[in-house]
């Protein structure tokens, strides 16, 4: 799944004939961020629909057992753990490598890395995850390694592209004022790159939450287990609930990451 890239903004060199209204802070916040309300609304809608659906059904004992809160929450905890661990690993690896690649010395490697990273979007994370099971063993550790590997290139690619877009003139200005390349990196480039890094976090999270649903196929649990059981037991009700829960969790996490991203971007101007 691709990274939601920054929206492209058109040139705005209009004649200054438009009026400027002073709005209350709340109204301004609302106009800037009203889209943030859409997602939670969808999540609530989906979950509400599910709840109503399930409550109108007579669940048999198998369904009741699978959908028991203890079972669902256990799997959810596993799921979040998988996603969190792999995301941390991805960030620890991909961000420093991305920064290294954006150094002047590594500029030449950048192009090929971006090209390979782009092409590797076609490499299925599901396949990478399963291959890990052959290399190691079934289980959580293997799943975390597989998830990390699968998300590595996309996040690396995103980081490199993001760093490329950091305003080159500012870096030049810093160098022009006599900052060493090291000072420029730590005092100009990295602070400017914070939004990029946060965006990378979001991409990694979304990818890993998604791929973690497949971890159940190598015995690492997670919410995918619900789908697998539903398919195995041929229980439509469980299937719908499982799909709904997974979707809601993924959307919620992406939403949280999105909010965090916006806060960080707003802070760093």
């Amino acid at each position: 799944m691709s990274a939601p890239a920054a929206p492209v903004v058109g040139p705005t060199d209009v004649e200054p004939e438009e009026e400027e209204k002073t709005q209350s802070t709340f109204a301004r916040l609302w106009f800037q961020h009203y889209d943030l309300v859409i997602l939670p609304a969808i999540i609530v809608l989906v979950l509400g629909f599910l709840l109503i659906y399930v409550s109108t059904r007579e669940l048999d004992t198998i369904e009741q057992r699978v959908l028991a809160p203890a079972n669902v929450f256990g799997l959810l905890r596993q799921h979040l753990l998988l996603a969190a661990l792999s995301t941390i690993l991805v960030l620890i690896i991909a961000v420093p490598v991305g920064i290294l690649l954006s150094r002047r010395a590594a500029r030449r490697v950048q192009g090929p890395v971006l090209a390979i990273g782009g092409f590797a979007q076609a490499l299925p994370p599901f396949g990478v995850l399963l291959l890990m099971a052959f290399a190691f063993d079934f289980g959580v550790t293997t799943a975390v390694i597989g998830l990390t590997l699968a998300a590595l290139l996309p996040v690396l690619r995103n980081t490199v592209i993001g760093l490329q877009q950091v305003d080159q003139s500012l870096i030049e200005a810093a160098r022009g004022m006599g900052m060493s390349s090291r000072q420029t990196l730590f005092r100009v480039e990295l602070p400017l790159a914070v939004p990029v890094i946060v965006a990378g976090l979001r991409v990694a999270l979304v990818l890993n939450v998604g791929t973690a649903t497949l971890a159940s196929y190598i015995g690492a649990g997670g919410l995918g287990e619900l789908v697998q059981q539903a398919l195995r037991l041929n229980r439509i009700n469980v299937l719908l609930v499982a799909g709904g829960i997974i979707a809601a969790v993924a959307l919620l996490i992406d939403w949280l990451a999105g909010v965090a991203e916006r806060v960080v971007v707003a802070r760093s101007g």
Binding site: P4, I42, G127, G210, L239, L240
Partner: protein, 228 residues
């Protein structure tokens, strides 16, 4: 039995699954792109900042809402979407195609909108000034100029779809995912590793075919004056 032997003795099955994979992605991307481009064109406003409460303003609102919605769909894990559609569209090709199509929407729509709205304002303004009607402007100026961006969106969404399509095997969709499911369920048995490996790597083969295809399409359809 080494890998090459495996490939040789199963070449027919592998070829068949690769073709199926290719076709499923092709159909989904084709349908999804058609929907997205049509939507992008229908909701295009020509100007980035339409005045409040005009038709354009509503169109812009629907467009932005559509982008947020399709972007959200893209973050839903594929397994969940396959599970949610299964009761309605059944096991097999239909579910796979429908879900894949949904995943293609966002990238193409985003690039269509971006491509159409970032056309140089001076160009649009002079087109208006020379008496181009709105439709003519959209189809003969904005669309050709946005086309490279749109085409790139289709390309990226194709690559993503190739990797998502393997999950379709969970709901008995066609394609290379079948090798993955077979392999993992027979882990330890002969060739199970090769199956998973093939299912994964041949996605790149499918991707390579598409990349060549897109390079040709780009060569043929991007107007000469804006080719890089």
């Amino acid at each position: 039995m080494n890998y090459l032997d495996y490939l040789a003795s199963n070449s027919q099955q592998i070829l068949f699954l690769t073709q199926a994979h290719f076709l499923v992605v092709l159909i989904a991307v084709g349908v999804g792109s058609a929907i997205s481009i049509a939507l992008g064109l229908a909701l295009s406003t020509g100007e980035p900042d339409p005045p409040r409460l005009s038709f354009d303003w509503f169109a812009a609102g629907i467009r932005e809402g559509g982008l947020v919605f399709t972007a959200a769909l893209l973050t839903v894990p594929s397994l969940a979407l396959f599970a949610l559609f299964l009761p309605f569209t059944g096991l097999g090709v239909t579910t796979a195609v429908v879900v894949l199509t949904i995943y293609t929407l966002y990238t193409v729509l985003r690039n269509t909108v971006a491509g159409l709205t970032t056309v140089d304002r001076a160009v649009l303004e002079s087109a208006r000034g020379l008496g181009y009607s709105r439709i003519r402007r959209l189809l003969t100026i904005q669309l050709p100029l946005a086309w490279p961006v749109i085409l790139n969106g289709i390309r990226v969404t194709t690559l993503i779809s190739i990797s998502i399509a393997v999950v379709g095997a969970v709901v008995q969709g066609p394609g290379l995912g079948i090798l993955l499911i077979n392999g993992i369920s027979r882990i330890g048995a002969a060739n199970s590793f090769y199956q998973v490996l093939t299912g994964t790597l041949f996605c790149l083969v499918v991707a390579a075919v598409f990349e060549i295809f897109f390079a040709i399409v780009q060569r043929l359809t991007v107007p000469r004056g804006i080719r890089v």
